[in-house]
Subunit: 456 residues, 2 copies
């Protein structure tokens, strides 16, 4: 019989905090009847966010095309039926057949148009891969880049643990570059150089830099000059770039604009840096996490390398077809004047406005707690506040005690990485608006009591 | 910029023939306007098989729950709405939220009941993992078992290239055991011993044996004594067993019965062999390949090892939710007396009857061709006939020429593995009934001309 010692060491060593021991304990408490507020993971619909009507109407018709003939006139807007028909035509055989390994061509074409509309640059549908969520796209790129323990991947500290877990799993070297908490998690060239040189001095060949923008867990948002700086760095050092841009529509500062890596790459005419950009249907205003839709777009990646990514996709055949359709609906929404447009735009606006208010409430609320300081939540769906803890107490202990005492499930900073000697936790901004005050209040009360108790 | 030499060697070396160069060429020809008959992959709905109405009605309502109020009375049977409601209840938050890492608990419970009804044995929902198709389940198990180049995985020759590709990708050792073509691809203890001893003499530690039953690409079906023999072998050698049982409802011989590995394991009271069983929504009578549904059931696997599999799943969060619902519909179909039952049973019967006739037509047709001999297609969706070729000609050349001259896309035996000096191809049995005669006729004409030409 298989024993735990038989399990490959890399698997055993990989850690994925956002679904780790604290979350397991939360589920256990829930089974015992406790009410748990899950702030551990960006899962909007589990906390009451509604799916967009237009999206679900189309998916419903795509699953059961005969429905179009059963619905009374006016039950859905005409463009819903049109969109479903055009999806079915584009799919060739409906959602029940395997798709191309890269994903439906019509979706990849729509993504290319979306990128063109967003950034004013061309995109090649053959360099786009549809994936089961953005995670799988990131994993494909890391898989081709990591050949052994000396292949280094630069990741931000703090980072999203998909990256650290996958690097461990694939046997590569994690090369952390520190974001500057004192300056709203700013990304500096100096920090990149420090990390790169340290890795090089340890015999590591750095292959790639991962940038998460807007930042998870930090909430930081890069401007054009930041993006340009990273690209210049990558060019100088001969690195590929993974741009994790799944929160590109989650910007909370008035007038903020998302700057994609692809746009700066093209504006600067950079032809010698390979760029892998990720997007997802799980975040933004859709929050369709369960459907596992997303894409990977490659630039300056030679055809033989694209073929290797295609092969990796083909080994498990293709991304799920419904997630692919959802990706189409993300990049090809109703246009003004179309019958569904108004409802779609209203629902989208409501979701984003609620998230914006929540970001503000969480940030302000946490900053009112003595011993907790929280940077600006400029984007994404998380706050990563710093907590002052008595010596010898870890943030993991703090999070576990918070869960036990209040039912609030957040994840310790250790799971994301942090400067030595500092303590943090990550919370999503996703609880319903009317619960956020309560959540913050309970955290405040808990922290006070915890700090007092632990100081003795 | 990334170059092909920068791509990890294991990735470059992995080969996945069913979507390899022949298929790429077929797609190229199709883009040029040629009509291609795709017999390379078990993708029933791409060749005209219809999805089951009940299944798609439920999925339609699950995607858009408000639909229940829009439908005129009687537009769908009452149990469809009931099933959709119970799925939505079971999911907790609908299909838009991430599920548990292992998958929806209510689906895992339904799978346990399905196994109980099928085999009369208990199953533990906590030892069941919902996966994006069965491929991902197989990959999880191989991932935990393979730690380095001396970790051997026994796979049948011929095999389904998911296994060879994944073993290469994870850096393990492929240990092929030969099925006996002269005896309808029989699986013998002797062949297992030969392969095991050869591997051991090469310093390989065999960890696991993969059995595909019904066989892909062979069409062979194991009986209880075969299964018992494999389990006894695994027990004696201390191996885990992966039982790939995705074709369990695709049995074409009158009176044939599927014998699961789990049932024999339990009947014999074996407690010291770890068993990993796979099932899928892509095959059987559903043929819902695009939805990527499936499950992995573990027996005699200790909790700490199950936790490692859970962690692997959690790193990409969860299997897609709609595929999970489809898995529920696979294991929890309408019961006799329920309003949907008759249509469901009729459609299921029609699909399976058509497949049975196709299996017979393909097998008989190919056996009429001089120079081609085809074993009984007792199960699954493929024939793996042997072709007599002039010396120096490979089956890959034969398949490529077949494609160029006839538009028929099949895959060469090399991609699946075969005894040295023999040549084969794999074809699915899936073309529409009225096309199968044509396909076989064209293959016959082609083969005659090809053999004549190549002999000079």
């Amino acid at each position: 019989m298989i024993r735990i010692e038989d399990v490959d060491r890399a698997v055993r060593e990989a850690e994925y905090a956002v679904r780790g021991p604290i979350v397991a304990r939360a589920q256990e408490l829930e089974r015992q009847g406790r009410r748990i507020i899950y702030c551990n993971i960006g899962n909007p619909q589990s906390l009451g966010q509604k799916p967009l009507t237009w999206v679900r109407q189309v998916l419903s018709l795509v699953e059961w095309p005969e429905l179009a003939d059963k619905l009374p006139a006016g039950a859905v807007p005409a463009d819903v039926i049109e969109t479903a028909r055009s999806v079915l035509r584009g799919s060739g055989h409906g959602v029940g057949a395997y798709t191309d390994s890269k994903g439906y061509r019509f979706v990849r074409e729509a993504i290319a148009e979306f990128i063109h509309a967003r950034d004013g640059i061309a995109a090649d549908p053959e360099a786009i891969f549809l994936t089961d969520g953005a995670s799988k796209g990131a994993q494909s790129v890391l898989r081709i880049l990591i050949g052994g323990p000396r292949d280094g991947i630069m990741i931000p500290i703090p980072q999203y643990p998909l990256y650290s877990a996958t690097i461990t799993l694939y046997g590569g070297a994690q090369v952390g570059y520190h974001l500057d908490e004192a300056h709203d998690w700013k990304l500096s060239r100096e920090a990149l150089d420090v990390a790169f040189e340290k890795a090089r001095s340890e015999g590591i060949r750095v292959r790639c830099i991962v940038v998460i923008n807007p930042g998870n867990p930090t909430g930081g948002v890069l401007d054009a000059s930041n993006v340009e700086m990273v690209l210049a760095f990558a060019r100088e050092k001969g690195l590929s770039v993974i741009a994790d841009e799944v929160y590109q529509t989650n910007l909370w500062q008035p007038g903020a604009r998302f700057v994609s890596f692809a746009s700066v790459l093209e504006q600067r005419g950079i032809r010698d840096v390979s760029l892998f950009s990720l997007h997802s249907t799980s975040k933004g205003y859709l929050g369709e996490c369960g459907h596992r839709g997303g894409y990977l777009e490659c630039r300056n990646v030679p055809e033989p390398v694209l073929e290797q990514i295609t092969k990796l996709q083909s080994i498990s055949l293709c991304a799920n077809s419904v997630g692919q359709v959802l990706t189409y609906l993300l990049v090809h929404p109703p246009r003004p004047g179309e019958p569904s447009y108004e409802q779609w735009a209203r629902e989208k606006g409501e979701v984003l406005e609620a998230l914006r208010r929540k970001a503000e409430l969480v940030e302000r609320g946490l900053n009112r707690v003595e011993g907790i300081t929280c940077n600006r939540v400029a984007g994404a769906m998380y706050a990563f506040p710093r907590i002052a803890l008595p010596p010898g107490v870890t943030d993991a202990e703090w999070c576990m005690a918070l869960l036990e005492e209040t039912g609030i499930c957040v994840v310790d900073g250790t799971g994301f990485g942090q400067a030595p000697g500092t303590s943090h936790f990550r919370t999503t901004i996703l609880p319903p608006l009317d619960e956020i005050e309560t959540v913050v209040k309970r955290i405040a009360e808990f922290h006070l009591a915890f700090a007092r108790r632990r100081r003795g």
